[in-house]
């Protein structure tokens, strides 16, 4: 009876369409293999920071790996349910790819721009962050255009009387003057397009976060927790157009982002004692197993009688909008176990089997946008061509292959095609692109 994953159990499951996650800056340093002169300089310059950085120039492949994985999972979660959907982590616990993504985004953004702040100062770092914000904004608008094209097409082609009510969703096409302006203001966000706006807002505040972190990292994290708690207490949110609110409440999701930044700037090292303790490990395992059983009752409603009513009432709803504590804890448990069992120097990270994932993770903004687009396109193919479980699975696989291919092409551009550019110019670009994808 393994059907109906998301409508299955009350409350808990989240908007499926919002299972989406974020985008992040491509990671930090430069892959060692193609370390450039600018990197050596960077390494030297960052030798005296107040906050601890991981060895500069060493790219944390685990981050790329998991970000790449998150990108694939997000793509699969955006397609209609199919066999591959069963491989996505949201079916086995509270948190999903979104958490992984926002955390890694915070981590890498802090790593890259934190270094920039130490080397070049607040103003320059802020300027670079703002350019990144602009890139993400442009990507968002681009996706919105594609979305408009898709639904305008559907609106004119699809007139099944069974769905005459649902087709009312197209009514906004009747007032493009309002809708498009609201979209540019990030207030009108069609389903599936909630992550980039969240990321834009988080990045806008990154300069302040980093500045605070440079001063006292723990205070910054404390303030973030405080904001999270206050948001829960006072129910703060951002409104959206035409009604409703931001699907990912930035006041809550900043916690993961800031936590990621805190880890990047030395927090992870300071926590290493806690992370390696067996007590932590067992707490994490227990929690993950418990979460797994709870999710099991969503998928197999027949089991729900096993859930004590009292616990259900206390636990539900597990909101994704406000990043429920249970979700956050689930992510922490996953992360703690990952860090413990997957060492940084694990040889598998260099294996060519994981290469596709790592490549995708290294070009996250591009691949994320491509994933959203492919999800639209996949829906489209499924709708126009029809098809059963096999076609569904094929569409998912094809999408992943395309994402991989695109990541490969992008890195080819970076490493080969752009090499011909004049030396002076390319070093300048590379420095800027530290946050890019170098």
């Amino acid at each position: 009876m393994l059907s109906f994953p998301d409508s299955a159990r009350a409350k808990a499951q989240l908007p499926k369409r919002c299972q989406m996650s974020s985008i992040a800056d491509p990671v930090a340093g430069t892959p060692r293999s193609d370390a450039k002169a600018s990197d050596a300089k960077a390494a030297a310059a960052s030798s005296a920071p107040a906050i601890a950085f991981p060895v500069a120039g060493e790219r944390e492949l685990r981050l790329d790996l998991f970000r790449g994985m998150a990108l694939w999972l997000i793509f699969i979660d955006h397609l209609p349910t199919n066999i591959l959907t069963w491989f996505t982590i949201r079916n086995y616990g509270f948190s999903d790819a979104t958490e992984i993504f926002i955390f890694i985004s915070g981590y890498t953004a802090a790593f890259v721009y934190g270094r920039a702040m130490l080397e070049a100062g607040f103003v320059v770092a802020t300027a670079r962050i703002m350019r990144r914000v602009w890139q993400i904004y442009v990507a968002h608008v681009f996706l919105f255009t594609i979305f408009l094209a898709e639904i305008s097409y559907v609106a004119t082609r699809f007139e099944n009387p069974l769905y005459s009510e649902e087709m009312g969703i197209m009514d906004f096409l009747k007032q493009p003057d309002v809708t498009i302006v609201q979209a540019l203001l990030l207030r009108f966000r069609p389903v599936n397009m909630d992550v980039l706006p969240l990321y834009i807002v988080l990045m806008l505040f990154l300069p302040i976060i980093l500045w605070l972190m440079k001063w006292r990292a723990d205070v910054a994290l404390g303030l973030s927790v405080l904001l999270y708690a206050l948001t829960w207490h006072f129910d703060w949110y951002l409104t959206a157009y035409p009604s409703g609110f931001w699907i990912f409440n930035p006041f809550c999701w900043q916690l993961l982002f800031v936590f990621g930044a805190w880890c990047a700037l030395g927090g992870a090292q300071r926590m290493s004692r806690i992370l390696s303790s067996p007590v932590t490990m067992w707490i994490c395992i227990t929690y993950l197993v418990a979460a797994f059983f709870v999710t099991l009752t969503w998928h197999i409603p027949q089991l729900s009688f096993l859930m004590p009513k009292r616990i259900e009432q206390w636990m539900y709803p597990i909101t994704k909008t406000d990043l429920d504590v249970l979700r956050f804890a689930h992510f922490l448990a996953l992360a703690a176990l990952t860090v413990r069992f997957l060492p940084k120097d694990w040889s598998g990270l260099k294996s060519r089997w994981l290469r596709p994932l790592i490549l995708c993770g290294q070009h996250s903004l591009e691949i994320f946008c491509l994933g959203v687009f492919l999800a639209f396109a996949g829906h489209f193919v499924l709708a126009e061509v029809g098809g059963g479980a096999l076609t569904h699975a094929l569409v998912s696989l094809a999408g992943i292959l395309i994402m991989w291919g695109m990541a490969w092409v992008i890195s080819w551009y970076k490493h080969s095609a752009d090499k011909g550019a004049s030396k002076t110019k390319s070093t300048a670009i590379n420095a800027d692109m530290a946050g890019g994808s170098a």
Partner: protein, 253 residues
């Protein structure tokens, strides 16, 4: 005419005829649309319905819904009418009065306002409240939606009616545009809290789509498929209502 074109013509004719023949067959035989039992089982009951039927009093059913509770220009093929027919068939000795109140384009909160008056006017034994679609389309805050459904159900229960909630349709075409899950989830929460049976139209239709009973992705423009889907929904809903009222066994024995 060249020799090959005759063959092509025949093939084309056959190809044209085959679907027509199939369609005819489907009209005659009732659509295969099995619903797995777990989608129709509920722990909640409908005591007032059970009482009315057992005492041979007329059963007054009021369907409150939005546009997905009807088929434009063929209301008699929509699921409420089918439900009435099925109930009449299964409860031959009980008069079934069914009326439909459509609130096109209104959110749960907007429907709330008129609910009590409606119930006072019609004195239904059972109110079938189909909601959520408009709220999802306008992306109303799910908490507000839950509050509205909660209030509405409470008002209906206070007014002395049994309540069945009907959730959204499964609409794969608009899946990228309408986020249904929060509304589905919240309706389930309210149903549990008030001990009200929830007819999971979404899961049932998705099951039909996955099982191949209906191709809900279809771009077909006529009302034919809508009628067949509604016929199946009406039948499933009648079974659901009788099960929830724990009437099926009693009547059949």
């Amino acid at each position: 005419m060249r020799p090959g074109s005759g063959t092509v013509l025949v093939l084309a004719l056959l190809a044209g005829l085959a679907p027509a023949g199939l369609a005819r067959a489907q009209d005659a035989a009732p659509q295969a649309c099995e619903v797995p039992p777990y989608l129709l089982s509920t722990e909640s009951t409908l005591p007032k319905v059970a009482e009315a039927v057992k005492n041979a009093r007329p059963l007054t059913v009021l369907v409150v819904g939005s546009r997905s509770s009807t088929i434009l220009s063929s209301e008699n093929s929509a699921y409420p009418a089918r439900l009435q027919a099925a109930l009449k068939e299964k409860l031959p000795s009980t008069p079934i009065n069914l009326s439909v109140e459509l609130h096109t384009g209104k959110t749960a909160e907007e429907v709330d306002a008129g609910l009590v008056k409606l119930v006072e006017a019609k004195r239904p034994t059972l109110v079938i409240w189909q909601t959520g679609t408009v709220d999802a389309m306008r992306s109303v805050d799910p908490d507000d939606f839950r509050g509205a459904v909660d209030e509405g159900v409470a008002a209906l229960q206070n007014a002395g009616a049994d309540v069945v909630l009907v959730n959204l349709q499964y609409s794969p075409r608009t899946e990228t545009m309408i986020s249904a899950p929060p509304y589905l989830d919240n309706m389930r929460v309210v149903a549990q809290q008030h001990n009200v049976p929830l007819f999971d139209r979404f899961a049932i239709m998705r099951h039909w789509n996955d099982a191949g009973d209906f191709d809900l992705f279809s771009t077909f423009h006529g009302t034919d498929m809508a009628k067949r889907v509604h016929a199946c929904l009406g039948r499933a809903l009648s079974k659901f209502v009788l099960d929830a009222a724990r009437l099926d066994q009693a009547q059949q024995n």
